[in-house]
Subunit: 146 residues, 2 copies
DNA sequence: GACACTAGTTGCTTTTGTCAACTATTGGAG
DNA sequence: CTCCAATAGTTGACAAAAGCAACTAGTGTC
């Protein structure tokens, strides 16, 4: 891989991260931070229902996570119930309020995406989608077995 | 734009950010944080030579920035000299040590990219590059004039 | 039944980032 | 030329985010 290619990729990366930092940073849901939103998503949609799974999925410290979860529980978005099978763990489930929050988060995220691509023609949009698919197809996420 | 498309885009976004978070986070340069690295890059390569320009480029608080810059200056990576033209501002220049740091940062980043795309054939690589170009061409970064 | 191991909590610390107040300077309006 | 609003940068105080290590309780294995 020549340095020209590398340069292009890094350029794209800067472009991309900046682009999405803008949308990312601001109010997906006024009261939730990014991590918190991410947690709701992982619990509610990706069915990670224990803390360990979450630390792995988001690679965050378990102490930090523990606090985040209590915060969410305090706000009534989340329930931690005992697990009869393994009493060390607790099963995480979104409350209906939590589901609702997650729903609005998703709405906002959708809106932002929509806004970002607002002035594209359908064909252009399709080209972008294809491009994204290409990238995903080629660059597979290996666990980077360092 | 239909919800299917939105869904695809958000999926790509999750994929992408996760992918690069992995490479990103770890040791670009053992002693510098991401922001600091980014600062060196902006100053050394993109020729932003005043603090204001940096706050705009990286959208970070000017107080925070000020401290970051003094830290870099203390480490001898950066020099802040008076600007005769506008005495309110200070001109930022990398020292040779700073240039050196920047160089190694770039090397590391290049390595990471290379590693990430290591097992692609030249044609596949080209496809990825084209895909990235397509995305950049279509999705322009507007200042999101909210 | 002893022991190494895992899940989660808690206290403590550091890092990161924000906000507001302040100084020095600039540039424009009258 | 003088006032004054605006700008660049610094500093203090503080809040939020994140990390580390020690601890408890439970698990599974030998």
């Amino acid at each position: 891989m020549d340095s020209q290619a590398i340069h292009q990729i890094r350029h794209f990366d800067r472009f991309y991260t900046q682009l999405f930092r803008l949308t990312d940073k601001y109010h997906l849901h006024t009261t939730l931070t990014l991590v918190e939103a991410r947690l709701l998503l992982e619990i509610g949609e990706n069915h990670r229902n224990t803390a360990v799974q979450l630390t792995q999925a988001l690679t965050i410290d378990k102490g930090y996570l523990s606090r985040l979860l209590t915060k969410l529980a305090d706000r009534g978005l989340l329930q931690r119930t005992a697990n009869p099978v393994d009493k060390r763990t607790k099963i995480l489930v979104l409350t209906t309020a939590g589901e609702a929050s997650l729903a609005t988060i998703n709405e906002r995220a959708d809106e932002q995406v929509q806004h970002l691509f607002a002035n594209l023609t359908p064909t252009e949009t399709q080209q972008v989608l294809d491009a994204m698919a290409t990238i995903q197809a080629h660059v597979q996420t290996k666990p980077t077995d360092e």
